[in-house]
Structures are given as structure tokens and as C-alpha cells.
């Protein structure tokens, strides 16, 4: 059975590291400076994901092992305080320590090369436990489908549930060479995954209101060399798509859908650290979803496909109800699809 075990180090990050081009200015330094910042705001500074930083530090195996011991004992002693709001269990935290070390280190003979100093690892892990800073912000990336995406405070961490929206888009036939849009793209996750499945002429326009999201998405698009396939535009929902009215073959979105009253009770990692702009869907959580449905009437071409993520079950049914009663002339084949946990998570359909 031992052969069946997966490698200690994620092959994902090794592949990406290998694929990384040395000419990319993003990957060589620790700080990325925005080139598009306007005069009245200071330039955004996006920390490069840990796994992409240079191996400019080192540590002995025993020093790393002490870190590991310390981090584990902190995880064990604090887990009880974390799980009450749905936070991670101690075994999940211990898995995160492994992932943190995978991202932060590389072995060179008897010593380990590090992408940050040991002190920083201690600081990061303390933030993880004491401030409940999400693990993905600690390492600056999220593994999502077969991608490793940079993420940063101010940008929603793509969820595993959302991986399915790409499969839904992939099942649609005949639209692979058209123009697609991902509205509220955040880290660019859906846009990038869809762009990689499209045909030679297929393209994706991804929009986001947040300047930080635009910057992170642009970084991720560049890392996957999709500059010719994914265009990022800043603005609210359909606003930046005026030139594409009636031309879209596909429209996907994971809009904010949590009812405002639920924001306070969220798990600390989410409620305290992720942008409410990407979470808060208004009183019923459907404010943005309804706008998206309405906007897709004018922006999708006849036969065009849409897929939206929702808060699940009841909200999906509400959206379907609304679309079939209010806009039955505009759409057909409206369906609800479940996520991997069996929650009715997505609404899909076609423009008539």
C-alpha cells in the first residue's frame, strides 16, 4: 500500500514552480506594485504568494521540527476555541501546518531553504490561530481545481463548491468559441478555469468592482499565460460590458449571496477577514442574483448559457421561481444543480 500514498509535497506547486517563467516580474520579488493605481490612492501592494517567493532563507531540520512541534501544540490547545463557530478542528489545522511547510520550504542537502524566515513562520501561524486569519491568506494562495491561485485580503477565497460551476459550463455544447463573462470574478478562478477549456476563438471577460480583485485576477491570468484569452475589467456587474450587449455565449457568476443578517454569525475566518463586498447579498441575499438574472436578458445572445451560484436550496428555488414567472419568455431549460454536498447550489439555463 505504501506506493499508493501521494507525495509529501504537492505536485501541483512543483509543476507550477517549474512552469514559472523567469521573466515574470511578479514571481521574482516579494512585493508587487500596482501599475494602474490612480493618483489619489496609494499603490496597492500585493504580497507574492509564499510558494512563489525566492528561497532566500535557510533553516536546519531541527529548527523546522521545533517549529512544527510548537505549531502543533498551539493548534491542539486552541482548537476547542476555534470550532465553536465552525472553525477548523485540530486535525485540519495540523494538515494546514504541513501545507504551510510545503509552500515555505525546499530541501537542499541537510538544510532546508525557506521562502521566508523562520520567525515569519512563527508569526504567520500565530496569526492563523489567534486572529483566525484564513490559511489561504497566510500562504497567499488557494488550490482550486487544478489551479493554484494567488489570493489576498480583499479578495474572496474561491470555495471548493464553486469548482463545479466550471463543470456545468463544460457540459454545454456549441459555445466553446464564443465570448464568455465571469462577473464578480474575485481571484479570477472561474474565468481562468473556463478560459482553459474554451476553443481557440473562445474568450472570457471578467469583471470586478474591487481594485484589489482586479489586480489579483490579473496576476493569476498572467501566471497561467492567458492574457490573450481573459480580459479583466473593473466595474459593477454589467457596467463594463456595454460593448458586449447581446453578444455573450456564456455568463457565469458567484455573486455575494449571504443575507445581510447572517454576516455577523459567520465563521471568524470568513466574517472577520474576507471582504463583505464579496459576501453580503442584501436583505434576502438575492439582491445581486436578481440583477444578474435581469442583466443576462440583454447581454446573452439567443442560445447563450448562464450559471449562477446561490446560497443553496431555498435561494436557488426562489431564483428559479422568479425567472420562470417573470421572465419565462426570455429563458428556457432553467435548472437547479447540486454541489458535492448535495445542496442545490447552482441555477443554470439558456437565453431564448
Amino acid at each position: 500500500m505504501s506506493r499508493l500514498r501521494l507525495p509529501l509535497l504537492s505536485s501541483a506547486s512543483t509543476t507550477l514552480r517549474r512552469r514559472r517563467s523567469p521573466r515574470s516580474s511578479y514571481s521574482s520579488g516579494a512585493v508587487i506594485t500596482s501599475s494602474s493605481a490612480s493618483h489619489h490612492t496609494p499603490p496597492l501592494k500585493l504580497q507574492s504568494p509564499l510558494f512563489l517567493r525566492p528561497l532566500s532563507h535557510s533553516a536546519s531540520p531541527s529548527a523546522l521540527l521545533s517549529f512544527r512541534r510548537w505549531a502543533e501544540s498551539l493548534a491542539r490547545s486552541s482548537a476547542a476555541d476555534l470550532t465553536f463557530d465552525g472553525g477548523p478542528s485540530s486535525s485540519e489545522l495540523i494538515r494546514e501546518i504541513s501545507w504551510l511547510l510545503q509552500d515555505a520550504t525546499s530541501q537542499d542537502g541537510d538544510t532546508f531553504l525557506l521562502r521566508t524566515d523562520l520567525e515569519d513562520l512563527y508569526r504567520l501561524w500565530r496569526q492563523r490561530i489567534e486572529e483566525r486569519r484564513p490559511f489561504q491568506y497566510i500562504v497567499g494562495c488557494q488550490h482550486w481545481r487544478d489551479l493554484v491561485l494567488a489570493v489576498s485580503e480583499g479578495v474572496l477565497i474561491p470555495r471548493p463548491e464553486t469548482e463545479e460551476i466550471v463543470n456545468l459550463a463544460a457540459r454545454v455544447e456549441g459555445l466553446q468559441d464564443g465570448m464568455w463573462a465571469d462577473l464578480g470574478t474575485g481571484s479570477g478562478a472561474i474565468a481562468i478555469a473556463i478560459a482553459r477549456m474554451l476553443g481557440e476563438n473562445g474568450k472570457v471577460v471578467a469583471t470586478d468592482l474591487s481594485e484589489m480583485a482586479v489586480e489579483v485576477a490579473q496576476f493569476n491570468v498572467g501566471r497561467y499565460k492567458l492574457e490573450n484569452k481573459v480580459e479583466i475589467r473593473q466595474g459593477s456587474w454589467f457596467e463594463p460590458l456595454q460593448d458586449l450587449q447581446g453578444k455573450l455565449s456564456g455568463l457565469v457568476s458567484n455573486p455575494p449571496y449571504i443575507p445581510s443578517s447572517h454576516i455577523h454569525g459567520l465563521q471568524a475566518e470568513v466574517g472577520r477577514h474576507e471582504p463583505s463586498l464579496a459576501l453580503d447579498g442584501g436583505e434576502n441575499g438575492t439582491d445581486h442574483l436578481l440583477r444578474l438574472c435581469e442583466g443576462s436578458i440583454s447581454s446573452l445572445k439567443p442560445g447563450g448559457f448562464f450559471a449562477f451560484e446561490t446560497n443553496g436550496d431555498k435561494q436557488s428555488e426562489q431564483i428559479v421561481d422568479f425567472m420562470t414567472t417573470q421572465w419565462s419568455n426570455s429563458f428556457h431549460d432553467i435548472k437547479i444543480e447540486a454541489d458535492f454536498a448535495g445542496i442545490k447550489r447552482f441555477v443554470t439555463g439558456f437565453r431564448r
Binding site: R3, R95, R345
Partner: protein, 244 residues
């Protein structure tokens, strides 16, 4: 120059993956060595893929009773997936944007054989699914036996491909030898186990049929942990001594 050193480092990383010294395992896997899956079996599971299941539902009409391991392995990932029930881990809450949790573990149950393969190591469910699937292929090769007729037996190409070059029955069409890290190794391993089980676990008899010395075939068997374990299980069940 920069590129080269990167490549070298990656090569070293790969080497470490294959044979981790104990202390590396402790740093990456935990002081208390969490080698076993930490999350499986804790939560309710859910059957998935009902919507993807194709109309060619081979598992429902009983025809799979005669399907052999060879046939399973020749299926595409999608076909194999259609014969599986996939369990993932249901969160207690509403999921989606509400949660920050890596519930990415995947367990596949191959319905015709009942074989279960799982993967929890990766951070992405997508990757865990493909890891579980490739594990399932290996397990099918190891656990499902197809009887063969020795009279006029010709080893299939997949088996020839994993034999060392000195085998006298190995023609040039078999190409260079395929090792355990190649995904095609499972097919050859399966054919070798079929042969060994037909000759009642005798390595020397199988070696003769494959044009190899007993020592050379033993070395091939010992080169892969799971193959060695399967051969030794077979030999033990026939009252023979395990290979060492």
C-alpha cells in the same frame, strides 16, 4: 542559469518525494506522524454524479458480473467514474461562501467490485478525485484476478512492457521498460498477477513463461511495494513462503 538551478531543485524535490528520510516525514507530516487519512469517516457522505451517470449504465443490467479487471482498466476515467459512487464530506452548515474549510477529501467506491479508493492529501477536491481514481486503477489491478489458459499463452503487450530487456520473449515492439511510476504499469502488473495466480504463485514457473530467470522476475516483483505485497498475499494463501 536560474532556470537550471530551479530544475535541479525540483529534481531533488522529486527524489525526496520518492524516499523521504524519517525526519523529513516528521517535518511535513507531523511530529506524531499523521500518515493515515485524518478526516475520512467522520462525516455524513453523499452520493454524487447521478446527473453525470451516462445512459450506458453497465452496472445496472448485470453484465458487469462477467467484466474482468482488464476491462475495467481499459475504460476511460469517465467510464470508470460512472461505475463508482463518490463520497465527499458534507458540512453541517450551508457551505459555499459561509465556510472556510478544505473539505476536499474524496472516496470512490467501485460498485461492481466494492473496491474503495480515497484521497485526502491535496488541497483541491478536483485533484483528490483524480488521485483517488488512479489509486482505484492500481487496486483493481491488484485485487481482481482474471483466470488465464496456460496452453498457448502469450503474455499481453502490457505485461511485456514492464519486463526487463533481458527477457527472451520480449520483442522490440514492447519498447523500453515501463516502471512503477508510469500509469501503464498497473495494466502490466495486473497481467503478471493473473499469470502468477494461474501458476499457483510459483515465481520460477512464471519466470520460465516470461523468458526470465527466477531472480530477474523476483527483482521485478520486489521493485514495487504494492506488487510485492499482492504477490506475497497470493503465495501465503497457497502455503508458500513470501518473497523477501
Amino acid at each position: 542559469m536560474l532556470l537550471r538551478s530551479h530544475r535541479k531543485r525540483n529534481f531533488r524535490l522529486m527524489a525526496m518525494i520518492r524516499m523521504p528520510p524519517t525526519w523529513v516525514m516528521r517535518i511535513f507530516d507531523g511530529v506524531y506522524s499523521h500518515r493515515s487519512p485524518p478526516v475520512l469517516g467522520l462525516r455524513r457522505t453523499h452520493q454524487y454524479l447521478t446527473s453525470i451517470r451516462s445512459s450506458s449504465s453497465s452496472s445496472s443490467n448485470g453484465s458487469t458480473a462477467t467484466t474482468t479487471a482488464g476491462d475495467y482498466l481499459r475504460q476511460t476515467d469517465e467510464e470508470l467514474m460512472n461505475q463508482c459512487e463518490m463520497d465527499t464530506f458534507k458540512s453541517s452548515g450551508p457551505g459555499g461562501q459561509h465556510r472556510n474549510k478544505r473539505e476536499s477529501a474524496v472516496r470512490l467506491k467501485h460498485l461492481p467490485t466494492g473496491i474503495i479508493a480515497q484521497a485526502v492529501e491535496d488541497r483541491s477536491q478536483h485533484r483528490n478525485r483524480s488521485a483517488a481514481l488512479s489509486r482505484l486503477r492500481t487496486l483493481l489491478a491488484l485485487k481482481v484476478r482474471n483466470p488465464i489458459v496456460l496452453d498457448g499463452y502469450k503474455p499481453p503487450l502490457e505485461l511485456l512492457q514492464i519486463l526487463p530487456a533481458k527477457s527472451t520473449i520480449r520483442g522490440s515492439e514492447a519498447g523500453s521498460q515501463i516502471g512503477p511510476n508510469n500509469p501503464k504499469f498497473a495494466m502490466g502488473m495486473q497481467a503478471l498477477l493473473d499469470l502468477l495466480s494461474t501458476v499457483e504463485g510459483s515465481v520460477s514457473t512464471a519466470a520460465k513463461i516470461l523468458g526470465l530467470s527466477t531472480g530477474a522476475l523476483s527483482r521485478l516483483i520486489l521493485s514495487d511495494d504494492s506488487l510485492r505485497a499482492a504477490v506475497n498475499d497470493l503465495r501465503t494463501s497457497k502455503g508458500m513462503r513470501p518473497l523477501k
